[in-house]
């Protein structure tokens, strides 16, 4: 009997050990990898170390855009629903204090907390002060369904200042407009990764191995923009907008020797931190268009600088030539009127430019001929992208040289029928101001990076040798003629006694659509502009002012030139323009 019992116990023990052994074999040999990975997945966290987006700075190092770390709050709705069931509470009871702390609408929070999903983002881009308050609330109430994570905020300290140039980033910090978009690769950097064993509270466990690849931060971008110049042209543009009740105002200030933009403003503008606000898609699209780059307009008489400089370069006109203006000119049977319908009479080349005489300019264009005219139009980069470092650049519309009629040549020569972008016009005046060498307009000066090892690298952007469009002699003669228009003409609204201002005004009728949807020139909507610089002997600054649809006056000399004068006077405080 004892033997029998002994046998049973032995057999049972043997079976037990056999089972255990089999299980051990299964765990340690057969399912080893699967079990190991399951265990690892429970304690190992793969954490992305986000790269810090580079700052955008002005030429003097002032911050125009910068990213700092922030927080986000997510809700685990499965846990939240269990909490509500177990404590017989409602979502509203949690939503009210949450809304108050986060500065959100209570109904929105309720909507999020009662969503069908298992998890939802409650709010992103939260500052530390707010998150500290939230943490206090979580600790006091013992809340377990809210998850605080890391995020980042892109700050634009000057709000709408330079908005069209800077652009903005989306919720994930990727550039979607302006410089932020154009230089996204430079600014964004490369995210790092960290693999570590963590506890329940996501704290790294001791004794565990940490594998880490550091993030490479984005480069800082230094612009050619001067914050002070930008500040006063922003203020002037705002004043101009109010005074003329204009539809939009565009001002560009640049350094003709480098092609660097010192200031660029388009009004109305937007806040890059929140460009959408409560706008409809249509309103958003309209307000975020950078008129300087994205839109084309008929330049009017300011385009005469291209016609006349080309003619001088080709030697078809000189300062000694005279042109008679009876008030109109017939081209292929089409009557084209001059600004002065009664005629300017006999004029020198300087007078043609000073009087902004259409007839004289058309005569000059006729001497130049369509082929040569078009060659220069192309050389000055009209009808094509100039390559400015901003997205969505327009080419403008110029005539096809093969199908250009004499009337097309005549109207084009005086800045009508063809459209150009403000950037293209700035390139033209900069070429004339830089001894005939075109240095394309640009905004990015250099990208700098201080890497994890502490080494500093600098990359120069937009370095260009320049391209000669007209000779130095032609450029100097052109500057003198343009000086005669403003600096040598005390009746000009841009005239400044001590500063040798040169430039040209323009007034162009806007193209509108009639009742039938056909395009036509408007009789009461104009674009008034001024293009020029100072001082003409050694240009240090060039200016473009465009007032779109002013209500109180229309002529460039009355509407745009006074603002250009203000800009040059202000610039004289920083640069010696006398």
């Amino acid at each position: 009997m004892y033997n029998k019992r002994y046998m049973w116990v032995t057999a049972l023990t043997f079976l037990l050990f056999l089972g255990l052994g089999a299980r051990l074999f299964y765990v340690t040999v057969i399912a080893k990898d699967e079990i190991f990975s399951k265990a690892q997945s429970q304690i190992v966290r793969e954490i992305t170390i986000p790269a810090k987006r580079g700052d955008i700075l002005d030429r003097n190092g002032s911050i125009l855009a910068s990213t700092t770390e922030a927080y986000r709050v997510d809700a685990d709705l499965k846990t939240f629903r269990r909490l509500l069931e177990s404590k017989e509470l409602t979502a509203e009871e949690f939503a009210a204090p949450l809304a108050e702390i986060l500065g959100e609408d209570e109904n929105e929070i309720v909507k999020k907390l009662t969503a069908e999903n298992n998890g939802i983002i409650i709010k992103r881009k939260i500052e530390k002060d707010t998150i500290d308050l939230l943490r206090e609330y979580i600790d006091e109430e013992g809340i377990n369904f809210l998850i605080i994570g890391y995020d980042n905020i892109r700050y634009y300290p000057n709000n709408s200042f330079l908005s069209h140039v800077l652009g903005s980033v989306n919720i994930d910090g990727t550039g979607v407009m302006g410089i932020e978009y154009w230089y996204d690769e430079t600014l964004k950097g490369i995210s790092g990764i960290k693999i570590a064993e963590v506890d329940k509270q996501n704290r790294e466990l001791p004794y565990s191995e940490v594998v880490q690849t550091s993030a490479i931060d984005g480069s800082d971008l230094i612009l050619t923009i001067d914050e002070k110049v930008q500040y006063f042209i922003e203020n002037l543009a705002e004043e101009a907008m109010k005074k003329h009740e204009a539809e939009s105002v565009t001002m560009i200030v640049s350094d003709p020797k480098t092609g660097g933009v010192l200031g660029m403003v388009n009004l109305p503008d937007f806040n890059p931190s929140n460009p959408r606000e409560d706008r409809t898609q249509e309103e958003f699209d309209a307000i975020t268009r950078n008129f300087s780059v994205n839109d084309a307009y008929e330049p009017g008489s300011t385009f005469k600088i291209v016609t006349i400089s080309s003619a001088i370069e080709e030697g078809v006109v000189s300062e000694h030539d005279h042109f008679y203006c009876p008030g109109y000119i017939m081209v292929n049977g089409v009557r084209i009127n001059c600004v002065n319908r009664s005629g300017h009479g006999d004029q020198s080349l300087g007078d043609v430019l000073r009087n902004s005489c259409n007839v004289g300019t058309i005569m000059i264009a006729q001497r130049l001929g369509a082929d040569r005219f078009n060659e220069y139009v192309s050389s000055y980069l009209f009808g094509q992208k100039t390559g400015i470092d901003l997205p969505g650049e327009t080419t403008g519309i110029v005539f096809n040289k093969d199908s250009m009629t004499p009337v097309d040549l005549a109207t084009s020569a005086i800045g009508q029928a063809q459209t150009v972008s403000p950037v293209q016009m700035m390139n033209a005046i900069n070429t004339i101001s830089n001894g005939g060498v075109l240095k394309p307009l640009h905004l990015g000066e250099k990208a700098t990076l201080l890497d994890v090892n502490g080494s500093f690298t600098e990359r120069v952007l937009n370095e260009s040798e320049g391209k000669e469009i007209i000779s130095k002699n032609t450029a100097d003669r052109m500057l003198k003629l343009l000086y005669g228009v403003v600096g040598g003409n005390d009746r000009s609204a841009g005239y400044i006694e001590d500063i040798a201002v040169y430039g040209k005004t323009g007034t162009a009728q806007k193209i509108i659509k009639d009742e039938n949807g056909k395009q036509k020139y408007s009789d009461d909507e104009f674009i008034s502009s001024f293009i020029g610089g100072a001082p003409y002997q050694d240009p240090k600054v060039t200016v473009l002012v465009i007032i779109n649809n002013p209500k109180d006056a229309i002529y460039g000399n009355v509407v745009a030139a006074p603002w250009a004068k203000e800009i040059i006077l202000e610039m004289d405080k920083y640069l010696s323009l006398k």
Binding site: S62, I63, S66, T68, E69, A70, E127, K128, D129, I153, Y155, P157, N158, N159, F161, R203, E204, L205, P206, Y207, E227, K228, Y231, D572, K573, S576
Partner: protein, 166 residues
């Protein structure tokens, strides 16, 4: 049941010599057995003592080893824990710094600075407000000769019209 075969003695009278001899042998045997028993007990006790000692020593060494291992592991664990804690503190400090940086960035608005400057009645600097000096050349007057100030004692002596040196 079969009975055991009995030995059939021819004479049953005992030999006294044989009897004495047998007693002596028995006595010797008893003494020998007693001695061997004592030896056995002594040896056994010695072996037991040795085993107890070695077990105690083993336990002692194992306990010491265990204590050292646990103590060292605990120490390393604490150090790593402290390190992780320090890392967390560093991270918290970095976060505070970032929050501070955000405030600084927000305060660097040129519009706000201009507004505050106006409120403080500050004026912007014009070219007329500063002096341009070329420091690459000598800006001092060449003709001006610099004479040493007379000493106080010299002044007194000169007033008294005394000449010490003479």
């Amino acid at each position: 049941m079969a009975l055991p075969n009995r030995v059939q003695y021819l004479s049953t009278a005992p030999n006294p010599e044989i009897r004495r001899e047998k007693q002596r042998e028995q006595e010797e045997e008893r003494r020998r057995l007693e001695k061997s028993k004592q030896d056995f007990h002594r040896k056994n006790a010695a072996r037991n003592n040795k085993m107890k000692m070695s077990a105690a020593l083993t336990i002692f060494f194992m306990a010491s080893g265990l204590f050292i291992t646990i103590f060292r592991s605990g120490k390393i664990y604490n150090m790593q824990n402290e390190y992780v804690q320090m890392q967390n503190d560093t991270r918290a400090t970095i976060k505070s710094n970032e929050a501070l940086k955000a405030k600084l960035i927000q305060a660097s608005s040129i519009g706000d600075i201009a507004e505050k400057s106006i409120a403080l009645e500050l004026v912007s600097v014009d070219k007329a407000d500063y002096l341009e000096v070329d420091l690459t050349k000598n800006n001092f007057m060449e003709t001006e000769s610099v004479q040493a100030e007379p000493k106080f004692t010299d002044k007194i002596f000169s007033m008294l019209n005394l000449n010490i040196s003479n």
